[in-house]
């Protein structure tokens, strides 16, 4: 099968959906001629024109709010937020307005809007351009949250997001835009709320989100060399979350580690770990461990930044330890 980059996969998803449905349009900063700083939307304005590929001023609250209003009145905006860190600027429009409109109106109004943005550190971009803020939006009922882990997921999840009648926030990993994966030529969608079991295993379950799926797969390779068989699961959407697949796996392997690139405390790894620990309780042979980004603002210096993110080595080391039955906390 052909291989394409994640960036190209996103571009195809948008183009295909814009061709399919006239009501779909794209707006954001420098999405037209410039094609975004990551060149993800390059070529779209040539095909669809400036009426449907709209460059905005640097007014994130304004154009996200406009996305909400447009979505309520018959069009289907894909709003591009250049960096996930700018979510902080648009939280009111996203969480007080978009997320709640369907509910507050008793089901009369819908907000079919997609907010495309990104996450991920280690680009030497410092504290305001390196955050992974998906936990914040996952906490707000009314929003769906997708975290593609490869070009394949990026395309399938984005297409599903665009067709969903709810506000969906989709986070791409900035470091993965040039990563290639097999992506079929034919159209496909990836349903929300269905985790992917990427690797079958017996001894431990590794749950990873976004680029941490790669970390888990690499950790699984390292573990294999030690004779430990790890199952790797990618939830793909954290709202809705496919709890059943994750919990069943943990019941089977009786051990689990959750890896996510958001700050560890009060983050996504806490929710998934808490659910596993609660719902697979009677099956667990070891505490559910978590790896998140260190609870510090992301430092600029390469010497520091690399210390803040989970690595395959650290995940494998912890996994091996609990698989060997060593205690990780005082008994």
């Amino acid at each position: 099968m052909r291989q394409i980059t994640l960036g190209k996969a996103v571009n195809e998803a948008i183009a295909e959906e814009m061709r399919r449905d006239d009501r779909v349009f794209l707006m954001g900063e420098d999405v037209a001629e410039a094609g975004t700083p990551f060149k993800i939307t390059a070529g779209l304005v040539e095909e669809f024109g400036t009426g449907r590929v709209i460059d905005t001023p640097i007014s994130e609250p304004g154009f996200v709010g406009m996305g909400v209003g447009a979505a309520m009145t018959g069009t289907r905006p894909i709003v591009d937020l250049m960096f996930g860190d700018f979510l902080f600027l648009v939280m009111d429009q996203l969480c007080n307005q978009a997320a709640k409109t369907h509910y507050m109106s008793g089901g009369k109004l819908t907000v079919p809007m997609v907010l495309r943005t990104n996450l991920g550190a280690t680009r030497r971009s410092a504290a305001q351009h390196s955050q992974s803020l998906h936990a914040l939006v996952a906490h707000i009922p009314g929003l769906k949250v997708a975290l593609p882990s490869s070009a394949y997921e990026a395309k399938g999840l984005l297409k599903t997001a665009i067709r969903d009648d709810n506000p969906v926030v989709i986070f791409e990993d900035k470091l993965m835009y040039n990563d290639k994966a097999e992506v079929p030529e034919e159209e496909y969608l990836i349903p929300f709320g269905e985790a992917a079991v990427l690797r079958k295993g017996r001894d431990i379950t590794l749950v990873g989100t976004s680029s941490m799926v790669q970390v888990c797969l690499k950790a699984a390779d390292l573990l294999e060399k030690q004779g430990i068989s790890a199952e790797v699961i990618d939830p793909r959407t954290i709202v809705p979350l496919d709890e059943a697949t994750i919990v069943e796996s943990a019941k089977k392997t009786s051990r689990a580690i959750v890896v996510d690139e958001g700050h560890q405390s009060y983050g996504v790894s806490a929710e998934i770990a808490a659910r596993i620990a609660e719902k697979a309780f009677y099956h667990l042979d070891a505490p559910v461990l978590r790896f998140g980004a260190m609870d510090v603002p992301v430092p600029f210096s390469p010497a520091l930044e690399d210390l803040t993110v989970p690595t395959p080595e650290k995940v494998a080391e912890a996994a091996a330890k609990i698989c060997r039955g060593e205690l990780v906390h005082a008994a």
Binding site: S59, G62, G65, G69, Q93, Y103, M104
Partner: protein, 332 residues
């Protein structure tokens, strides 16, 4: 397409709509005072000419966005008393099945995209609706209602800029009632409101919000020009709220005098003023007006009783409408 009204039926409908708003608020206030209302609510009384003057210039398809002080906009845009009171009381038959209440009342069928409990929160929504309509090419206009206090929200300047750049069919209608909560407008707003819109190249008007005919005339003109692609526009409407900031704001002496309130009520009431004009023009008699008032009051009372007797939503509704397409969000 609506035009400036100039026949008796239109005049009478405008009068009646203003009376309906006043009657609605009087009942809502009573519900609060008799402890039958869950939570608080913000009364529109005194500002009726704004909502009616503007909404009468719109078609039912045209959109509006409303505010925490939103009953007036809702009534003026065509809403029904029963569904409104049911909403205020959290009943199943309310416009939002009781889920929104006074601060989120929305009436999709008449183009009301909803009240909003975030001051300024609907400015993006209104501008986005205008963008939608421009893209869809359906000629519809959106009016964004907000108060003087909301002009302090940065969001307004962001969306004005985009509306101006892209020529969107949106009218920003600022109801300057002299106060934001317990603070006078001059203490929280520097410079000039109209200049703020004009700085973005937006044509701005400042008018008497107590004169329903003047409001309607200007609105009809601007709506027509919006439909021709000449938007956006800004209107500042000078008006006054008769009640406290919300129903619970009873002792107001520390921020405004009883004299000031009396002055507005006795000399600048939009309903009395328009009623007098209707009589002076020979369109109605004093008795006609009394009859309208009585009929509306009865309607309102009946609607209140209906709402009081109506059923609450079933508990199972609590996790419905979280996500479109998912019946119950919390059942597997």
């Amino acid at each position: 397409m609506a035009e400036a009204k100039h026949n008796s039926d239109d005049y009478l409908r405008m009068y009646r709509q203003m009376v309906r708003i006043r009657a609605f608020e009087d009942q809502a206030n009573q519900l609060y005072l008799s402890a039958k209302m869950p939570g608080l609510t913000h009364m529109y009384s005194g500002q009726e000419a704004v909502a009616v003057g503007i909404c009468e210039a719109l078609t039912p398809q045209d959109h509006i966005t409303s505010t925490h002080r939103g009953h007036g906009h809702c009534v003026a845009k065509g809403a029904d008393f029963k569904a409104m009171f049911c909403e205020l009381l959290g009943k199943e038959e309310g416009y939002c099945r009781g889920k929104g209440g006074s601060m989120h009342i929305a009436d999709q069928s008449n183009g009301n995209l909803g009240a909003n409990a975030i001051v300024g929160g609907s400015m993006g929504i209104a501008t986005g609706a205008a963008l939608s309509h421009k893209m869809l090419g359906d000629g519809q206009v959106t009016v964004c209602f907000f108060g003087d206090g909301a002009t302090a929200q940065g969001l307004w300047y962001e969306v004005m800029n985009m509306a101006a750049l892209w020529g969107l069919p949106v009218i920003y209608a600022c109801e300057n009632n002299g106060y934001s909560e317990y603070t006078k407008t001059e203490e929280i707003a520097a410079g000039s409101m109209t200049a703020r819109a004009e700085a973005f190249g937006i044509e701005a008007h400042s008018i008497d919000g107590q004169d329903v005919l003047a409001v309607n005339k200007l609105s009809a003109e601007l709506v027509a020009r919006c439909r021709k692609g000449e938007g956006p526009f800004f209107i500042e409407l000078k008006t006054y709220r008769y009640h406290g900031h919300h129903v619970g704001d009873i002792n107001r002496d520390y921020y405004r005098s009883k004299d000031e309130e009396a002055e507005w009520k006795t000399t600048r009431d939009p309903i009395t003023g328009f009623g007098k004009w209707l009589q002076s023009e020979g369109i109605v008699s004093a008795d006609d007006l009394v009859a309208i008032n009585d009929a509306v009051k009865q309607d309102a009372e009946a609607a209140v009783q209906y709402a009081l007797d109506a059923a609450y939503p079933d508990g199972s509704e609590v996790d419905m409408h979280v996500y479109a397409g998912t019946r119950h969000a919390l059942s597997a």
